[in-house]
């Protein structure tokens, strides 16, 4: 398993798309935060705005599935799907005599870390640097750090569920383009579900899904029960979707 994880890191480090994404996100994130901190761009009604952390408003964009999906699905398309087609290098991995379950888990682990780094860590670091550079570092007091730690800890857990979905999608589609298109469609469906009135049972399902939690975890105050519920939703979703992925990958015929 260690070898497989090392292989995945080796491949990710040499993945052109990953470096392009890192560069793009650093650029966009820096510009975005700069415009917001200098009040050139006013964003309102974000979870950060309501608790007087308006300097961090730019982070909101990176917590919306319809936006961060573009990052995650691009990484999945050019890091995971291309291994099936056109390069077909997944064949070498299967023939190498490693268990398919382990291959899948190694991919999930490294893909998730890569996605977390690009989608969560880079925007957080850039905003922190800019806030400090603009002399507003005092907003990172103990209370706010606890809030950010709790919110981003829970967000990352839900995010793992999302990367598990995108990995599953990329394994099913076998194709970079299809991975991106289907993930966008999927995210749009979830977005529409969020906005539209829906039957009661769908409401219950939605409110107990990671998509609802993406917003919930940024509430300034959460009860212990809400935190536990959020942890359970993130963890259970990740485990179930990963098990589905392993099941499918173990039965997948490689062309």
């Amino acid at each position: 398993m260690n070898n497989l994880i090392r292989v995945e890191f080796f491949k990710l480090q040499r993945n052109k798309a990953c470096w392009i994404l890192i560069g793009t996100v650093i650029g966009i994130s820096t510009l975005f935060h700069y415009l917001i901190i200098t009040d050139w761009w006013m964003m309102r009604n974000t979870p950060f705005d309501s608790i007087h952390l308006s300097e961090l408003n730019g982070l909101f964009a990176f917590t919306v599935p319809i936006f961060f999906n573009l990052i995650v699905s691009t990484l999945a398309a050019f890091y995971i799907s291309t291994e099936f087609s056109p390069s077909g290098v997944i064949k070498n991995q299967i023939i190498s005599g490693n268990k398919r379950t382990q291959i899948y888990l190694a991919k999930f682990f490294v893909f998730s870390l890569g996605s977390i780094f690009v989608t969560i860590v880079i925007p957080l670091v850039t905003v922190a640097v800019l806030v400090i550079l603009f002399g507003r570092g005092d907003i990172f007091d103990f209370t706010n750090m606890i809030y950010l730690g709790r919110a981003y800890g829970l967000f990352t857990l839900q995010f793992l569920g999302y990367t598990a979905i995108i990995l599953l999608l990329s394994i099913i589609t076998n194709d970079s383009g299809k991975t991106i298109i289907f993930s966008i469609l999927f995210t749009i469906v979830m977005y529409v579900m969020e906005k539209l009135a829906k039957p009661a049972f769908l409401e219950v399902i939605y409110e107990n899904s990671i998509f609802y939690q993406f917003m919930e975890v940024f509430k300034y105050t959460m009860t212990s029960g809400e935190i536990i519920k959020s942890i359970l939703i993130g963890a259970v979703s990740t485990i179930i979707i990963t098990l589905c992925g392993i099941f499918i990958f173990n039965r997948k015929e490689i062309k």
């Binding site: 497989l4 491949k11 040499r14 390069s87 299967i94 023939i95 190498s96 005599g97």
Partner: protein
């Protein structure tokens, strides 16, 4: 300890409307170079994909190094090196990096094995050149390098000469022979370039439309393809005596249907016919026969030719 590297038992692979393999039983002994012959679409790659775990059989079983349990099979695959269909490479990586990925995923200790393999397949001087800029022949050689990196006991090659120039084909043949001779490497090689296989294989399996038509050693094949005079006379036993006494040869066989296969006097058919007629035998048929591997294969699959 079993000397059988690969054995399949009634291996069958069906797709929705298509039977790719049906009840295929092949046996490959340790140290053999097994030539797997068949037209495009005959089922060669399907069998190789089943053996390497890329696809799953509909029924039947695969025994690899004496193991046939699914978990043991995965473990046994560590002792295999393979190229299936075309070499699978990372286009944005160099030859060295491609081998480095494979070294890590196979858990091969020591980076020196990478340089050794690059030397072996003649790609030591490719430096940082990305494989997307490689010629087909270079890709094929790198694919072979990946297959050989872990020093496998069993090498599976699917159409390995695709894209190789004549020199490359000769080099590949010599390399396989050398590895087979010096390291006892067992090789399963599928190809439709039969003349190539004929110079390499020690045994053959002939597949057509998903069915294994015949399995034979190179000796048996040479015997079948050997040039001979085919003689049909009214009294085969008397003809045998004439061949022995008059032509002083025992290099012939009397077949169950009474036909005689004479392996000498190929350049002197007249001497044979006059010896037989002078002894009062009626010659019903006399012709020079014998197959090349190509024509033998064509006959076996029903004269449909091959690609």
């Amino acid at each position: 300890m079993s000397d059988i590297i690969l054995r399949t038992n009634k291996l069958t692979k069906k797709y929705k409307n298509d039977v790719a393999l049906e009840n295929v039983n092949i046996t490959i002994e340790k140290g053999a170079i097994y030539g797997f012959i068949g037209q495009n679409g005959a089922g060669k790659s399907t069998l190789l994909r089943l053996v390497t775990g890329l696809a799953f059989p509909t029924s039947g079983s695969i025994e690899l190094f004496g193991n046939d349990h699914p978990n043991e099979l995965t473990e046994s695959q560590k002792r295999i090196g393979a190229i299936i269909e075309n070499p699978a490479l990372f286009p944005d990586m160099s030859a060295y990096e491609n081998l480095a990925v494979h070294r890590l995923q196979k858990g091969i200790p020591g980076k020196e094995s990478i340089q050794k393999t690059l030397d072996l397949v003649g790609l030591a001087n490719t430096g940082k050149k990305k494989t997307k800029n490689f010629s087909l022949g270079m890709k094929q050689r790198l694919g072979l390098g990946i297959a050989l990196l872990s020093d496998p006991e069993f090498l599976i090659l699917d159409e390995p000469t695709n894209g190789l120039d004549p020199t490359g084909i000769v080099e590949l043949r010599e390399l396989i022979k050398k590895l087979n001779r010096e390291k006892g490497l067992t090789v399963l090689i599928s190809s439709h370039i039969l003349s190539e296989l004929h110079q390499l294989a020690t045994s053959y399996g002939i597949i057509h439309k998903g069915e294994l038509l015949e399995e034979l050693t190179s000796k048996q094949l040479d015997e079948k393809c050997r040039q001979h005079l085919q003689i049909k006379v009214d009294q085969p036993s008397k003809a045998a005596i004439v061949l022995e006494d008059t032509l002083s040869t025992t290099d012939f066989e009397v077949m169950p249907d009474g036909t005689i296969k004479l392996y000498s006097y190929l350049d002197d058919v007249r001497a044979v016919s006059s010896a037989l007629t002078m002894k009062g035998l009626l010659i019903e048929h006399l012709s020079q026969n014998g197959d090349s591997l190509e024509s033998y294969f064509s006959k076996l699959i029903g004269g449909q030719g091959h690609e």
